[in-house]
């Protein structure tokens, strides 16, 4: 337990940052127009201001209440998001099969335990299943494997 609710404080700060940025961009880059005929910037500027205001309330409230230590895992998001990023980088130049292998192997590390046999079986199964569903079942034009160089 903490004296203040740091989770809400961080959340509020994040909302203030996003809200302020959105408003600033709207005011500086897009025309605001008038209330009678609003330009593209008016609505976003207002929304940013509201978000900033809500963030402020969160920060102020967070001082008044106790908070619990949030349970933050570092490795799970890293491997899962890293796997997706790898998929995004690989799918176009190298094709579907390498992309599937990349996301399956990288994201499975998030368990922090490597099981070589079950991982290999899973990879094999997915490499058969996914092209079957998406390429042959749904008729998507996805090259299975290619070498761009």
């Amino acid at each position: 337990m903490y004296k203040h609710n740091y989770t809400d404080m961080a959340g509020g700060a994040l909302m203030i940052a996003i809200g302020a940025t959105v408003s600033l961009i709207a005011i500086s880059e897009y025309s605001l127009g008038s209330l009678k005929r609003m330009g593209p910037g008016m609505f976003p500027a207002g929304l940013g201001a509201i978000l900033t205001f809500l963030g402020l309330i969160l920060v102020i409230q967070s001082f008044g209440k106790a908070g619990e230590r949030p349970d933050i895992r570092f490795w799970s998001p890293l491997f899962v998001l890293g796997g997706i990023a790898a998929f995004a980088l690989i799918i176009v130049p190298f094709g579907l099969i390498p992309a599937i292998l990349a996301i399956t192997i990288i994201s499975s590390f998030a368990e922090l335990k490597v099981r070589p046999v079950s991982l290999a079986i899973l990879c094999l199964a997915l490499c058969i299943l996914a092209p079957g569903v998406f390429r042959f079942g749904l008729g998507l034009q996805l090259p299975l494997i290619q070498w761009p160089f």
Binding site: Y30, L47, I84, A110, R115
Partner: protein
Amino acid sequence: MELLNNLGLGLGVALSLTNLSYCFLGALLGTLVGVIPGLGVLAAISMLFPLTFNLEPTTALIMLAGIWYGTTYGGSTASILLNLPGTPANAVTCLDGYPMARQGRGGVALFMTTVASFFGASFGIILLTLFTPIIAEYALSFGSAEYFALMLMGLIASSTVSNGSAVKGLSMVVLGIIIGLVGMDTQTAAMRYTFGILGLLEGVSLIALAMGVFGVAEIIMSIRRVNKADIDPESVKLKAIKPTADEVRRSWLPMLRGSSLGSFFGTLPGTGPSIAAFLSYAVEKRVSSSPERFGKGAIEGIMGPEAANNAADQTAFIPTLSLGVPGSATMALMLGALMIHGIAPGPTLITDQPELFWGLIMSFWVGNIILLLLNIPLIGVWVRLLMIPYNILYPAVLMFICIGAYASGMMVLNVWMVAIFGALGFVMRVLNFPGAPLLLGFVLGPMMEEHFRRAMVLSRGDFMTFFDRPISSVIMILTGLILLWSVWSSEGFRQRRSQRSESV
């Protein structure tokens, strides 16, 4: 008589071979994904959405609806056998369903929830059939001011009434609307928040957003937390699913009460199936002559809530289809799906697209019958699925998400978006922000802005237009009251309730 004709038309559409098979496929896949712990209905719909791209709009919607109520059915399986609610609406089912499974009556519990779900859904469908056309006709006179007010009420109600902090819910709605701004402004053709990325011209992909926030973030949170099932396969064999005569007798009234409660709360913005299920459980416990049995495997404790959440699932379509204003994130996703298929939702939908509307409604019924037939013999299969270790399931799910994202528009950008929104969803979850209001704001945002700007043009820049028109002023006042109520009840009351819901 006209109603009968329409129902006949709908039945014809729903029973066509294509629609029937996609309804079946949707219900099957929905149940499959719903059974997997940690993947809720939003993740299920967004994951499976790419499968509907090449279909006719009516068929696509029928399949999506099948996925949707399939998920609700599937969710109850995980609740009962694992004490892990597959969807939030099934959380209450854990309270008495899991004890039943522990007593070796898991099969009975599964069978009876299937019956309750079907009963509740049928109840909801009847109301949907009767009321949607009436409301839609009434709504034809609505102008932009009314629509803006309605959407505002929907957003504020859904972000403040649900569990947790109202301020956080509202922040997520606003953030959702902001994300919805990205792309070309429809009225002036100005580029907003695209940062020079061409792919963002048409805005952020709904699918990528939903898959990131609800699929990827959910998986990140579940890794190394979901344990392998501890199920006794004997308790769910087909011969073990027959309820006793006493249990059947005690199930009728809870189902009826649950369906009525669910139907009412399903139509209101912000309440929906979860709250209906919780209320139904509370009511059953209150009216029971032996409340001490609750929590220890009382059949009433699963029949009421399951009927309630399925009835609510169906009646939630009333505002969505009649007004084009969704009351929950799931409905927002369905509406988004309609728009992606090029259909403008609103009160004219029923008259413009009668095949779609009546076909969809009748397919609900067909789909629920399919589920009834599907679930009872397949209970054993779902159980086996639950016994697959999570470390095999989640990479497979992630792969499907990635391919689905890429397939929606064949753009790598969408895969990156999934990663970005997955990260956002993860941060939100760690900081205790709810995800559903974000999606609702995202879908409603562009429509809201359009109606707001149009109303302001018509009133020559006078804000009072929202209060001068009778219908819109009533809605605005109601919205104000909801907001006031949420502020008033925010601190002590809410903190206690959110703590309780976290411990469930």
